[in-house]
């Protein structure tokens, strides 16, 4: 099981927490699984504003190929710059 945290703007319910019980091995596979749960989410996540963090590790490169293990927590984090 992979736990997924979505930002408020992508949430489909009051909860920011989703659980994916499908057998997924990478972020790319996780996105496909999420799209099956929430149709259209794949397209929304295909956007430079969203980064992924796995167990609090920010992924800046090779994100979709990042391997996942059972129990991982994946967070979708909008990333902007500040002033």
């Amino acid at each position: 099981m992979i736990s997924v945290l979505l930002p408020s703007t992508l949430r489909v319910s009051d909860s920011d927490h989703l659980e994916v019980h499908e057998d997924v091995h990478t972020i790319a596979e996780l996105v496909e699984a999420l799209d099956r749960k929430i149709p259209g989410l794949r397209e929304q996540l295909d956007d430079s504003v969203f980064n992924f963090a796995v167990n609090d590790e920010m992924l800046l490169i090779h994100a979709r190929e990042r391997a996942l293990n059972d129990g991982d927590v994946v967070e979708v984090i909008p990333t902007i710059s500040g002033g």
Binding site: S48, V49, F50, F52, M58, T79, G83
Partner: protein
């Protein structure tokens, strides 16, 4: 007649500086060259305001300057270059303070910005600070593009602008008022309503006292912050410039409102606006920075901090969002911690990410309520939160290391995270009282004899300016290069290749190549090819500042799909009738940077100043997946050389001779 001497600082430059003339002679000579009428539809006048003699002269920026530098920041550099006497000091009344609005300011959605330009009393190099809110648009409504202030007023003065005319009013009644009280008082005395028919820039007590980290306030929070603009305006004895007048539409060369709607829709459709800027604003960035291990903490001794300052923890205190003139984004978070009218700092504007970082991790504070309160106090006292927070963090580390002690601090025991003490210090800074007088000299504390020389090793500054943002750039090498080469000092808003932090872009080499016009390494921590991305961003942002567009809504800063050169060129054509090819507009941004480097060279800036704080070369990051990263001196120097090469700069960091001559033709 212009008397001229050959520039002694930049041989073999052919710049003739009228150093034997005073500012009035220089202004007279310049005004005599300026057109007397607008050169294109919507162009406003440049007002030269002699504060000592209470006289005004005016002209219009010549077309050759507009074609090469546009307005706003770009034309401000033309005026500064022509009027600067580098044999003086920054706070000398003959050194002008120049306000300029962009060529599209007040006309295009999200183009609400203007720049304040001078010789920085804080850093000693170029001062060029950008702000939005309503003032830059309102002066354009009055037919004014630039205001050049010079000469010290005999007594504290308030300038009022109505129907394009300037009145000199007695400002003494407003002396000693900080931002909140002054903004309450002005509508009572002058009539009108903020943002509808009234706008203002002003200094606070900090500016009156020439505190080097004092801002010129442009709204409840918006300010010209960087480099000590408040000190400069205060030194001229100008308390405020009040602008009155109804908003209006402009008579443009061609219809422009249709394309305005296209731009507005583009803004609102951009995911970064929908998912971050419109909802929580810039504090969103705190979390990715701390997870990455790039959050400047305790004066960058550490690089991560508590999740208690994540943006969602501000949400309970955020009653809504606010924004600048005719901007559909409204990215500015408001705050309200209580409704107690007696608590002046229980509500306000902000905090932005910079303030969150500088008054959170950087000084060891982990309570969001403390950060919000300090933010509100800084907004009232008119302090640049970047320089002020960094200055306090520097002092805290010096005390921690025993480089300074209670004999330096007036008896204060400095401790990380002591919000009550920091609050007290902010008021002392604004009044230059006790240890506050030391902190008020910010990066110059060693030069002024407050701290011993070993303190410089821990000063997180470049070219005399503390770092603008809290991001520790030891990991992302493009960020590091940008901070090193920024013309106003250590500041991310001049050229940050922000999209380096987005995996979606790093993982698409073809897309990244299209963004930057050449291949750029996907690895965030690689030095390879990052100079190209910095060059492209620096050009884009200089154009953005010169048209008046907000950085947050300019392409490449927060998103690859926000308005950029193509949209700017189209709307400049519609509004002004001036045609720019995309590469010509890119060249304008390059010209602005080149002229800024020529000004800095006159102020003594050399290649050796395009560098980074020692800490980033010497101490590796100790947290996160990039643990061990630091800046390699050899790699950095090679990257800097490549940056100069792609920027058409000499090995000393100034425009090559042919380009310098071209610029000289433009600026005269």
């Amino acid at each position: 007649m212009r008397l001229a001497t050959l520039c002694p600082r930049l041989e073999p430059c052919r710049v003739y500086h009228p150093q034997l003339m005073n500012i009035r002679d220089r202004v007279s000579a310049l005004v005599a060259e300026l057109p007397r009428e607008p050169q294109f539809p919507t162009q406003g006048a440049t007002l030269f305001v002699d504060l000592e003699r209470q006289q005004i002269s005016r002209g219009y920026t010549p077309m050759r300057v507009v074609k090469s530098l546009l307005a706003g920041r770009g034309a401000n550099m033309f005026y500064l270059h022509r009027l600067l006497d580098e044999t003086l000091e920054p706070l000398h009344p003959d050194i002008p303070l120049i306000f300029g609005s962009g060529v599209l300011t007040g006309i295009v959605p999200s183009a609400a910005r203007g720049n304040a330009t001078s010789w920085s009393p804080e850093s000693g190099v170029l001062m060029d600070s950008n702000a939005g809110d309503y003032f830059p648009s309102f002066i354009r409504m009055n037919g004014i593009d630039h205001i050049v202030l010079f000469g010290r007023a005999a007594a504290w003065t308030l300038l009022r602008i109505r129907q394009g005319e300037v009145e000199f009013l007695d400002g003494s009644a407003y002396l000693g008022l900080d931002n909140i009280d002054l903004r309450e008082r002005i509508p009572q005395d002058f009539g009108g309503t903020w943002n509808r028919d009234l706008a203002m820039v002003n200094v606070t007590r900090a500016g009156e006292n020439q505190v080097l980290c004092s801002a010129i306030m442009g709204g409840p929070k918006a300010c010209y912050a960087r480099g000590g603009p408040g000190a400069k305006m205060g030194s001229l004895k100008v308390k405020a410039i009040v602008v009155q007048g109804q908003t209006r539409d402009f008579e443009t060369a061609q219809p422009y409102k249709g394309y305005n709607r296209t731009i507005a829709q583009k803004l609102l459709d951009t995911s970064v606006v929908k998912h971050a800027l419109k909802t929580m604003g810039t504090p969103f960035l705190y979390k990715p920075s701390r997870l990455l291990g790039a959050m400047g903490t305790k004066n960058n001794q550490e690089t991560t901090w508590t999740d208690k300052l994540d943006a969602e923890n501000i949400t309970p205190y955020r009653p809504g969002m606010s924004g600048c003139f005719r901007c559909p984004v409204n990215c500015r978070p408001l705050n309200e911690m209580n409704q107690d009218a007696a608590d002046k700092y229980g509500r306000g504007d902000g905090p932005e990410y910079v303030t969150l970082g500088k008054f959170g991790p950087n000084v060891g504070i982990d309570r969001i309520e403390s950060v919000i309160r300090l933010n509100n106090i800084c907004n009232d006292l008119g302090l640049d939160t970047a320089s002020t927070g960094s200055t306090i963090a520097w002092a805290l580390e010096l005390f921690q290391r025993g480089i300074i002690d209670t004999t330096h601090t007036g008896g204060f025991e400095l401790k990380w995270g002591d919000a009550d003490l920091i609050e007290r210090l902010l008021f002392m800074i604004s009044r230059r009282e006790g240890f506050g007088n030391v902190l008020a000299d910010t990066t110059r504390a060693v030069e002024k004899g407050h701290y011993p020389p070993p303190a410089l090793k821990y000063r997180m500054a470049v070219k005399g300016l503390m770092q603008s943002d809290p991001h520790d750039a030891r990991i992302l090498k493009a960020f590091a290069l940008g901070l090193a080469v920024a013309t106003r000092g250590m500041d991310h808003l001049r050229n940050r290749v922000t999209l380096e932090i987005n995996a979606r872009i790093n993982d698409d080499p073809a897309f990244k190549q299209r963004l930057y016009g050449a291949p750029v390494s996907a690895a965030p921590n690689s030095y390879d090819t990052k100079e190209r991305a910095v060059r492209v961003c620096e050009n884009m942002y200089a154009v953005g500042d010169s048209v008046g567009m907000c950085r947050f809504t300019t392409k490449l800063f927060n998103s690859p799909s926000l308005p950029g050169l193509e949209e700017f060129a189209a709307q400049i054509q519609n509004v002004t009738g001036i045609s720019y090819a995309i590469d010509e507009l890119d060249r304008v941004g390059h010209n602005v940077m080149g002229l800024e480097r020529m000004i800095n060279a006159r102020l003594g800036v050399t290649r050796s100043h395009d560098t980074l704080p020692d800490r980033w070369f010497d101490e590796p990051v100790t947290f996160g997946s990039y643990k061990g990263e630091k800046i390699d001196r050899g790699e950095f120097d090679a990257m800097l050389s490549r940056f100069y090469e792609v920027s058409n700069l000499t090995p000393d960091g100034v425009p090559v001779d042919a380009w310098r001559q071209e610029l000289q033709q433009v600026i005269g």
